[in-house]
Symmetry: C2
Subunit: 408 residues, 2 copies
């Protein structure tokens, strides 16, 4: 279209065209419109918690006495990496500062990992639904995502080993898992991880595990880190971030960890090209490790209350189903709608209940297989109990009048 | 080697192997060693100024009253983009907030630009020597750098048009320029930019210009922005950063700007995948636009003093030559040495003068053509006058005793 108007304009890239828009953010123009009309929008579309960042972290930033805001080491400030090693030790994970590269959010860690480990055209197996932004990094790195299905009626448990075996081709080079899972909230068991360990060993694969939600495990369940699986040290990259743990998404600080020296040395070259991760974020991160334990205890209690409201509310609604997530702060719910993209947009564009509406992320964007997720939405239960109840009421009332409602 | 030890380890990527180490940072282990021996190392290898960040910026960070450090808009906080539009207007550049994506340093802007505009295998022409880290982004994006030579004896002026014409192939999709130039300090004239404009138009190319050092122009010379070249609005991407302007490298805040809506919309998809640029950096950036004009006036005077010391010192040394740079805070000097990599390493590993030595970046890493830059180093004149004089003394004394010194 543009090329008809402008004679001298080259076209944008094929991968740029291939990169899907974020299902988490693509409806933002509609929520902006709704707000302009005076409607209150409850944002359950994005994992942006309303939980306060720990006071000691905020205080630390206010007390910085830097004169020059300098570049740091490309792998991150050494004192921060040492502090991180302490944090991991407390979490039962033994790693050293030279096995880490501090990244600009968990996002950059995923990109560096793909760039260092995978060639363009290589395949990475991911159980779907999966965190939609993995697509963006895969497109950037020229890596092919091979989804294998998990199902809402199984609570999104790990697909059977046979599904992995069937998906493996000569181009398969890695498995990527998010544990606890975004978007499903599923917490993988030790047995499931050991199944994966065996596949990884058998087929000489890399195993990338995003443990950003490590602390968010409910109902007494334990988190099992990939770093503690025996016999695959050289295959594993742990991806992590402080965004959710300390409700500090804006600091953009994550870390990639591997005991494989070649991976770290290679990723470091890409890290050096971008110079360093953000200084203030690293200062925040170093202090965050000192956060009193009571902070996280309170946060977890709060998230359990929120989860319970969402799960119970939805399961009470006619034709709806939401499995009970064991971790993270997301749930995927099945709704009696023709098309979750249309429904989510309709909630913003055409619906309001007592001057309010709710925003979800359509689940379609979390699936790679076309057609899957059309009657599902991802719900981030990141708002306080009172707002969440109002948001659930909006959903309930919306479903009553949505023109594309499916008959049960 | 590793695969002999570990039976189940896949190999790292070919591009990971292809990514060159940063010439700016690869000798850091040797400078660390020298420091352990008690030697003072003058760091002229990296563009990390010792200039203080403006007081108003530091104060703004100390006074933040955030309760939750949230994600921002993926394109950057709107109030910051509006403020940036004010800054550009003052600099004679007319752009709107929706033509910008705030990036994590200038680095991320280069990567997003390549991802959005270029396909793997596409060629980008860059006059060499060029900022070495472009290599890392090109490798990450699968883009092929086609260098065309500029020469120290011409002061690193723009290569003749014929050199561009000869380098253009059916795969050529873009020209990338840094103005004023890192590593040479060369400030491109209006005529040179207009030559490039004509080539860009004639061959339907993109034109990416890194103007990070826009303010650093000396001897009364004017900077000419690519945004003010007529007739190629749809081809141009401006890449910028606040790192150098306000001596705030650690905030990791840059921006990519284009009037081509498709480029911005496409880059935004990659930006959404990584969620947002750092919050504190954006707060710093917004305040930085309010920095009193006197700050930059003083900084420029200081850099001119520093440049003069470096250029005059080196040109007084036997067998050495350093052109007088018109901008930025770098110079490339020719030294009577067999191999600048060896020489720079030797200065750290084996040499000291009165307990001091100096660290440069070997120029070889700034050239793509094998063999070029072997008798050149990049000098960042980022230290105060007193330290710079001592560093130049170290160079002078080092050259006297360096075993690989070339006979004149």
């Amino acid at each position: 279209m543009f090329s008809q108007i402008y004679h001298f304009m080259p076209t944008i890239s094929l991968r740029g065209q291939a990169c899907p828009p974020s299902p988490i953010r693509k409806l933002v123009p509609y929520s902006d419109e709704a707000k302009l009309k005076g409607i209150t929008v409850y944002h359950l579309n994005i994992g942006q918690p309303d939980i306060e960042t720990p006071a000691n972290v905020l205080e630390k930033i206010r007390n910085t006495d830097l004169k020059v805001i300098e570049y740091s080491h490309s792998a991150g400030i050494l004192s921060y990496r040492k502090k991180l090693a302490e944090y991991y030790l407390q979490a039962g994970i033994s790693v050293t500062p030279d096995q880490m590269i501090v990244t600009t959010g968990g996002s950059e860690g995923i990109l560096f990992t793909m760039l260092a480990c995978l060639n363009p055209g290589d395949e990475v197996i991911i159980p779907e639904p999966f965190y939609a932004n993995y697509n963006g990094f895969a497109v950037a790195a020229g890596v092919v995502v091979k989804p294998i299905p998990s199902y809402i009626d199984d609570g999104f448990a790990l697909p059977p080993i046979s599904a992995f075996e069937e998906a493996i081709t000569p181009k398969t080079k890695a498995i990527l898992l998010c544990n606890p899972n975004n978007p499903t909230g599923y917490l993988y068991s030790r047995e499931e991880l050991e199944f994966l360990r065996d596949i990884v060993k058998k087929h000489d694969l890399y195993f990338f595990v995003d443990e950003v939600y490590r602390e968010f495990c409910y109902d007494g369940h334990q988190h099992h880190s990939v770093m503690n699986l025996e016999g695959i040290d050289q295959n594993v990259v742990l991806l992590d971030s402080i965004s959710k743990r300390y409700s500090a998404c804006g600091v953009r600080i994550g870390v990639m960890i591997s005991k494989n020296k070649e991976i770290i040395a290679t990723a470091l070259k890409f890290a050096q090209a971008r110079l360093s991760p953000p200084t203030f974020g690293q200062i925040a991160g170093e202090e965050a490790v000192n956060t009193p334990e009571s902070y996280l205890v309170n946060v977890l209690e709060e998230y359990v209350r929120r989860r319970d409201i969402v799960v119970e509310s939805i399961n009470r609604m006619d034709g709806c189903y939401c499995p009970n997530p064991g971790g993270a702060f997301y749930a995927v719910a099945r709704l009696p709608v023709d098309d979750s993209d249309k429904f989510c947009q309709w909630l913003l564009e055409e619906f309001s209940y007592e001057g309010q509406t709710v925003m979800f992320a359509p689940a379609t964007g979390f699936y790679s297989t076309p057609g899957r997720g059309k009657d599902e939405v991802r719900i981030s239960y990141v708002l306080n109990v009172s707002d969440l109840k109002k948001a659930m009421k909006c959903l309930e009332e919306g479903l009553k009048v949505y023109p594309g409602r499916k008959k049960s």
